[in-house]
Amino acid sequence: MIYLHYFAGLKEAAGKPEESLPWTSGTAADVLQWAATTYSNFDFSAVQIAVNEEYVLETEPVKPGDHVAFIPPVSGG
């Protein structure tokens, strides 16, 4: 199981702030692929991925228990 976190427009597109997903092994790119397929109404092209609150490359392995957050372009400040 991994835990997915959605924010801003993606949270609205998904209709929820978080969900869990059965998981054995894979990379951040695999998780992104799953989300992009599941929430095809959202444009993931500029989204960064954070695993356990740290930005990662798409090649980063994702292990069961990890928290994966999709980070649309930020606009704080």
Binding site: F7, E12, E53, P72, S75, G77
Partner: protein, 151 residues
């Protein structure tokens, strides 16, 4: 009684209190304190913002704010930093972010403060939604710039 700043890098739903940040960084070794406040701006290019909503990935955002602070204290020796960001619904002129930097010398205090806001706008997972009279939009494309404080 001023209970002071709860923590120097915080994301909060509460109204921001700039003096708490300023007092946190002020100390006998410092001769200069700079403070930046990003406030909600009403009019941008003729479009009127009614209010803003900020959302954050709170634990990661606080971690990133702390990293920015640590980087600054290393890059500008003798500086001390506090950064607080508000989330939730904000009205016109409300404070969205407050950055306080103290330093023995003023040049460093200005530079480090500006560096902090630039880094925040790049890496801290916080998002702003603008609500106008006729619609709303999550802001994320940094080339698109209505409302609040901008480049």
């Amino acid at each position: 009684m001023d209970v002071g700043l709860k923590k120097p890098f915080e994301v909060t739903f509460e109204p921001l209190e700039p003096m708490k940040c300023m007092n946190y960084v002020t100390r006998p070794e410092a001769g200069a304190v700079t403070l930046f406040a990003g406030t909600v701006r009403e009019w941008t290019n003729g479009k009127r913002t009614m209010h803003l909503e900020y959302e954050a990935y709170v634990p990661m955002a606080e971690k990133k704010l702390a990293e920015i602070g640590a980087e600054i204290e290393k890059k500008w020796p003798g500086s001390r930093v506090a950064i607080v960001h508000r989330i939730g619904a904000l009205a016109i002129s409300d404070l969205a972010v407050v950055i306080a930097v103290s330093s023995p010398h003023r040049r460093a205090a200005y530079e480090a403060n500006e560096y902090a806001i630039e880094q925040i706008k790049k890496v801290v997972p916080i998002w702003k939604k603008e609500i106008w009279e006729d619609g709303e939009k999550w802001i994320g494309d940094q080339s698109y710039k209505p409302g609040s404080e901008q480049l």
